[in-house]
C-alpha cells in the first residue's frame, strides 16, 4: 500500500536494467524503504541490491514474448500487492539499419509498443483488483512528431503515448493512477553514442519529476518541463520542417 506521500511498499520495475527505471527506484528508496521486483530478459544480469531496499527480487521478463506475460504477472502479484509499476523497457534501435531491415523495425515496434500494451493491460487488470496502484509509463518526446532520423522509434512511442492517455481515462475509476512521463533526450548509456538533442536531461532529473508526481492522481510529466510548450509548437510545424532533424 502506498502511503500519504504516494510512496510505495512494493515496486515492480519492468525493464530492470533500465538506467532511468533504476534511478526512479533509487530515488523512491531514498525517501522510504520498499520491496523491489526487477524484471528483465536476463535476470542474472539485473542489479542485486538497491540501497534502502527491504528486498530485491529478480524475475525473467521478455517484453516481446507477450504470451508469457500472464504467467509473469501472476507470479509477481502472488508475492503480494504491487503499489507501483514502472514501465521502463524499450529499445532505441538503429534507424538506418531498421530502414533496410523490416525485422529490425518490427523489433522496435514490438518491444516498445506491443510489449508495453500487453504489460500495461496485464498490470492495470491486477492493480484494479487491488482498488489502487500507480503506473509510471516512460515514453519519450520522440512520439510527438516524426523526425527523419528516428521515426521508427518515434512511432512506437507515439503509439505508447496514445495508449497511455487512454489508460489514464480507463484506470481512473478503478483507483489506479497513471503517470505519463515524456522526457526529452536522456543522457544514458543507451544514448551515449548519440549527440544530445536540445533540452536534454538526466535519469536523476526524470526520477525527481516522477517522485514529485506520486500520490497526486493521473499526471502528465515532461522532463524538462519546458518541453511541454516546446513540443506543442513543434507539433504545429509542417512535417517537412523536420526532414533534417
Amino acid at each position: 500500500m502506498s502511503d500519504a506521500f504516494g510512496l510505495p511498499s512494493r515496486i515492480l520495475l519492468l525493464g530492470g536494467a533500465s538506467e532511468i527505471g533504476g534511478a526512479i527506484v533509487a530515488r523512491i528508496l531514498a525517501e522510504k524503504s520498499a520491496d523491489v521486483v526487477l524484471a528483465g530478459r536476463h535476470p542474472d544480469a539485473l542489479p542485486t541490491g538497491f540501497h534502502g531496499a527491504r528486498s530485491v527480487e529478480r524475475v525473467e521478463f521478455d517484453a516481446c514474448a507477450t504470451d508469457t506475460h500472464e504467467a509473469f504477472f501472476d507470479r509477481v502479484f502472488a508475492g503480494g500487492d504491487i503499489d507501483l509499476v514502472v514501465l521502463a523497457f524499450g529499445i532505441l534501435g538503429d534507424q538506418a539499419e531498421a530502414e533496410s531491415d523490416p525485422a529490425a523495425a518490427v523489433l522496435v515496434a514490438t518491444t516498445n509498443y506491443v510489449g508495453a500494451v500487453s504489460a500495461l493491460t496485464h498490470a492495470q487488470q491486477r492493480l484494479a483488483k487491488q482498488g489502487r496502484g500507480t503506473v509510471v509509463v516512460l515514453s519519450s518526446v520522440a512520439g510527438q512528431k516524426a523526425r527523419r532520423s528516428n521515426y521508427i522509434y518515434g512511432s512506437s512511442k507515439a503509439g505508447l503515448d496514445a495508449f497511455t492517455e487512454g489508460l489514464q481515462l480507463a484506470a481512473e475509476a478503478t483507483g489506479v493512477n497513471v503517470i505519463h512521463v515524456r522526457p526529452g533526450f536522456v543522457k544514458t548509456q543507451m544514448t551515449a553514442h548519440l549527440k544530445p538533442a536540445p533540452f536534454s536531461t538526466t535519469a536523476d532529473a526524470v526520477a525527481d519529476a516522477v517522485v514529485a508526481s506520486l500520490g497526486k492522481g493521473n499526471r502528465s510529466v515532461w522532463v524538462p518541463a519546458i518541453l511541454r510548450p516546446v513540443m506543442w509548437l513543434i507539433r504545429a510545424l509542417p512535417p517537412r520542417a523536420l526532414r533534417s532533424l
Binding site: 506521500f5 511498499s9 525517501e31 482498488g131 475509476a173 483507483g175 497526486k216
Partner: protein, 455 residues
C-alpha cells in the same frame, strides 16, 4: 434481502484525503444484513467504516469490501440512574451527547470531534483532554457485541472475556464489527465547562505548567506555537472542569447532531492553507488567547471547535493533509523539543500542534496512549520534505521508547510498528483466534503488515 446485497464500487480516503482506494461499499441497516454480507465471498476481505474521521487509511480496503456502519445508529437503552447507555456500533458521539447531556451525564471520553461512531471510538481506543485522569475510551466500555468472522455475535467484557475484549479495543477493526456497546457515562451537573487559560513563554514552561497543574483539572491540554521562530513551543494551556449546576448564568447550548455549515467543495481545488498563512494563523491564535480563570464555555467551543465547520478538511486543498501524533515517556521531553525543531527547520508548519500529558495506559495491547507526553501535528500536503523529516522523527520516537498513533497513521515505516508496539505479537495471536482466515482487512494493515501476513 436486496438491500443488504447492494454494494457500490467507489473511492474512499480518510479525513486527510490522501491515498484513496476503490472498494465495494455497502451500508446495511441491521445486524442480520451485515452478517449476510460477511457470508458473501470477499477476495480482499472486509472492514467496517464509521463517519470517516480517521485521518489515514484505517477505514478503507482497496479492492475489497467496506461496510459503512452508520446505518446502524440506534440508541438501545439509557439508564439515567446508573449512567449507562447502550447503542448500536454506528451511533455517533453527537447523538449520545444530545441524549444524555440534558439529564446530567456526559461522555466519559471524547476526542476532538463528536462526529465519530462508538464502534470507531472503540476500535481506535480514542482519547481526549481527560486522558491523564480518566484514560482512553475503551476503559469506559462495560460490554460490547462483536460480530466475528464466523458470523457469530459475541458479547465481550473486560471481566468475562478480557483477551478478546482488549484485542478489540484499539484493535483497529481487525477483530470484527462492533455492532453494539454499553458505555459508562460521566456524571456532569451542567452542560457548561469552567475554563482556565494561561499563556506560556516557551516549551519548557508549557511542560512545567501541565506537569504542575493538570491533575487539578479533568480536562487539560496545550496548544503550541510551532511556526514562530524563536518562540517554538510557547503555548496556550487550556484546562477545565464541568461547571456545577447553577454556576453558569444561562444554560449553555448543546451541540447539534450535524455541523451547521460546511466548507464549500471548491475549496478543495484551491489549497488555501499553505505555510505563510499557517504561520500567520499560529501567531494570531496565540495573541487572541485571553488568559483568565473561570470562564464559562459551552461544550462545542471547548471540546469541538473544529466541528463548527463541516468538511473542514477541504481547506487543505487537493493535496490533503496528515496528522502525525506520537507519544514518548515523561522523561523524554527532549523528543518534543527535537520534533518542533526538525519540523521548523524542514519548513513544515503545523496548523495545529497539541501537547498533552497522558495518564496510565489501558490493558489493550495496541492502544496508543501510555504515561508520557503526546504531540499531535497537522501537516498540509504536498510537502516535499515531510516524508524524510517525519521518518527521522519516527526514529527518535522509537529510540525513546515511544510510538506513533496507528489509527491516525498514513505513512509510518512498517519496520517500526513492532518496535513501537511491543505487544503486537500478543494482539496478533488473539486476532488469529477471532479471525483465522483474515476476513477483516484494511489498507493500513496491508501497508504496515499489522496482521503478520505478507502485504
Amino acid at each position: 434481502m436486496a438491500n443488504a446485497a447492494h454494494r457500490e464500487r467507489r473511492s474512499l480516503s480518510g479525513w486527510g484525503r490522501t491515498a484513496p482506494s476503490v472498494a465495494d461499499v455497502a451500508r446495511p441497516t441491521s445486524v442480520g444484513a451485515i452478517a449476510e454480507l460477511l457470508t458473501a465471498p470477499a477476495p480482499r476481505g472486509v472492514i467496517a467504516r464509521g463517519l470517516g474521521r480517521s485521518y489515514g487509511d484505517v477505514a478503507q480496503n482497496g479492492g475489497g469490501m467496506v461496510v459503512d456502519l452508520t446505518g446502524l445508529d440506534s440508541i438501545l437503552d439509557f439508564n439515567t440512574s446508573a449512567g449507562t447507555v447502550t447503542v448500536a456500533g454506528g451511533c455517533s458521539l453527537a447523538a449520545i451527547i444530545e441524549l444524555v447531556a440534558p439529564v446530567g451525564w456526559f461522555l466519559p471520553v471524547t476526542p476532538g470531534t463528536r462526529f465519530v461512531t462508538v464502534g470507531g471510538a472503540i476500535a481506535c481506543d480514542v482519547h481526549g483532554k481527560n486522558h491523564h485522569r480518566d484514560g482512553s475510551f475503551g476503559s469506559h466500555v462495560a460490554a460490547l457485541t462483536l460480530l466475528t468472522a464466523s458470523g457469530d455475535l459475541r458479547t465481550l467484557s473486560p471481566e468475562e472475556t478480557p483477551r478478546e475484549f482488549w484485542a478489540t479495543v484499539g484493535g483497529l477493526g481487525l477483530t470484527g464489527f462492533v455492532v453494539e456497546a454499553t458505555l459508562k457515562l460521566l456524571p456532569a451537573e451542567s452542560t457548561a465547562i469552567r475554563v482556565d487559560t494561561e499563556r506560556t513563554a516557551d516549551l519548557d514552561a508549557t511542560f512545567e505548567k501541565l506537569r504542575a497543574t493538570d491533575q487539578s483539572y479533568r480536562y487539560s491540554v496545550a496548544w503550541l506555537d510551532c511556526a514562530t521562530r524563536g518562540r517554538l513551543g510557547r503555548g496556550i494551556v487550556i484546562q477545565g472542569d464541568h461547571a456545577a449546576a447553577g454556576e453558569a448564568d444561562t444554560p449553555s447550548a448543546l451541540p447539534s447532531q450535524h455541523p451547521r455549515i460546511s466548507a464549500p467543495g471548491w475549496l478543495s481545488l484551491a489549497p488555501v492553507l499553505r505555510s505563510p498563512l499557517i504561520g500567520l494563523l499560529n501567531d494570531v491564535h496565540f495573541r487572541r488567547a485571553r488568559p483568565g480563570t473561570g470562564r464559562i464555555e459551552a461544550i462545542e467551543p471547548f471540546f469541538y471547535p473544529l466541528d463548527a465547520l463541516g468538511d473542514w478538511n477541504r481547506v487543505y486543498g487537493r493535496g490533503g493533509f496528515l496528522q502525525y501524533q506520537f507519544a514518548v515517556p515523561l522523561d523524554r521531553e527532549d523528543v518534543v523539543h527535537s520534533a518542533l525543531g526538525l519540523l521548523y527547520d524542514a519548513g513544515l508548519r503545523s496548523t495545529l500542534a497539541v501537547l498533552k500529558r497522558f495518564g496510565p495506559e489501558s490493558q489493550a495491547p495496541l492502544s496508543f496512549p501510555f504515561p508520557g507526553w503526546t504531540l499531535a501535528l497537522d501537516i498540509a500536503l504536498p510537502a516535499p520534505a515531510a516524508a524524510r523529516t517525519l521518518s527521522s522523527l519516527d526514529d527518535l520516537v522509537a529510540e525513546a521508547g515511544g510510538r506513533v498513533y496507528l489509527a491516525k497513521d498514513s505513512r509510518l515505516r512498517r519496520e517500526l510498528v513492532e518496535v513501537m508496539n511491543p505487544r503486537l505479537p500478543e494482539w496478533q495471536a488473539v486476532r488469529r483466534e477471532l479471525d483465522p482466515d483474515g476476513l477483516f482487512q484494511h489498507d493500513l494493515g496491508r501497508r504496515l503488515g499489522l496482521t503478520g501476513s505478507s502485504s
